[in-house]
Symmetry: C2
Subunit: 225 residues, 2 copies
């Protein structure tokens, strides 16, 4: 291969994943203890280096898959973080991605295997390098996005109750919402389908289970919450 830019310096490129989950009415992030030097033992996001034969998006997906075994996960780029001294080892520029997963898809066994755990976004400890800043930015972006795009369903099981959905919004936005107003808005979105199924876990009376109809959404992609 011809080398065109030989006079320029190269840098190490990594990706870091901010993995959001929703559990126990709380928005959580998956973090662990860093397993390599420098910074071994500090709280850290899960990340990895970008290979020369993969795009940034691919690297992010591969990294997430390494950790979770999951494919086809909703991921969005948060941005590139590149202060000179952000990594105490050597110059590393990192591109952060956030992912939304259903916590049920990531069981206890995997948690222990990888030495990671879910922590409430409100209670994230001081983390390695600039990982706190990454989480903060990811959260803001997700908060914006969730208002106008149907990404909330990525954090829930396929079948969910309206109360679950409402609690999710409350957790993400950090404020309670009125039940009747919330449900009124849901009713206007035909792609949030009521099923015949009833959830009897969360209440004695039982709550109707709903489902996000992707095809229907594509026909009339109007989402507002």
């Amino acid at each position: 291969m011809t080398t065109f830019y030989k006079e320029f310096q190269k840098v190490l490129l990594s990706v870091d994943c901010i993995i959001f989950g929703f559990d126990n009415n709380k928005l959580k992030v998956l973090i662990g203890r860093r397993q390599m030097d420098p910074g071994r033992g500090e709280w850290s996001l899960y990340g990895g280096f970008v290979r020369n034969d993969e795009s940034l998006d691919e690297a992010a997906n591969r990294t997430l898959n390494e950790l979770t075994g999951l494919h086809e996960i909703y991921m969005r780029q948060v941005g590139a973080f590149g202060t000179v001294d952000r990594d105490p080892g050597e110059r590393v520029v990192s591109v952060a991605y956030y992912a939304l997963i259903n916590v049920k898809d990531y069981d206890e066994k995997l948690l222990k295997e990888h030495g990671v755990e879910w922590v409430e976004v409100e209670k994230v400890p001081t983390m390695y390098s600039d990982h706190n800043a990454m989480i903060l930015k990811a959260r803001k972006m997700m908060q914006q996005k969730i208002k106008t795009e149907p990404i909330s369903f990525q954090l829930l099981p396929q079948l969910f109750t309206l109360t679950q959905l409402q609690r999710l919004y409350e957790a993400v936005n950090g404020e309670e919402v009125d039940k009747r107003n919330f449900r009124k808005r849901i009713k206007e979105m035909d792609f949030i389908e009521k099923t015949e199924l009833i959830d009897k876990v969360s209440s004695k009376r039982g709550a109707a289970l709903y489902r996000f109809n992707k095809k229907m959404y594509k026909e009339d992609p109007n989402f507002k919450l």
Copy 2:
């Protein structure tokens, strides 16, 4: 220096600048013909490689300064672009930034010196690599930002008329707005100050010149347009 990550591959990192300006009631971008191989002669954003001793933000600012001679310019990161084959030469990941400048600060002389020109965002030609995608994303981000943050003033002279400001919003959002409603909203923002000065260039009657009061804004940062 200790090397921690020696087994990983490094990549070339560049920054590309989407430089927005407002002129003749149109939103424009500053683009030129690429001066190096590969892609010599194609329409391109102005960019440069990131050095090992500078952050991404610094690299973007330096690059912008090389082209315009301007300092302290409003810049925001658009994101990292990193498909494997985005650069026909070799693997280059690029971080895009958008900048807002007052076209009056960038005169004809500089335009010719650097072989760049202002083109309407609506009429941007097919460009080198993924530069069209960068411009598109930058534009969307700027469009969002301009609604809730006082960045519009970066595109105008220090003193401006309300009609200029309105035309700027119309150009950015691609739709006309009602003059009276627009001015009503302006009146509610005390940090958009009316001066004693009158602009006689754009009209016979003369229009009041306004100014953005940064200090006043900081005391009560509520911007909505």
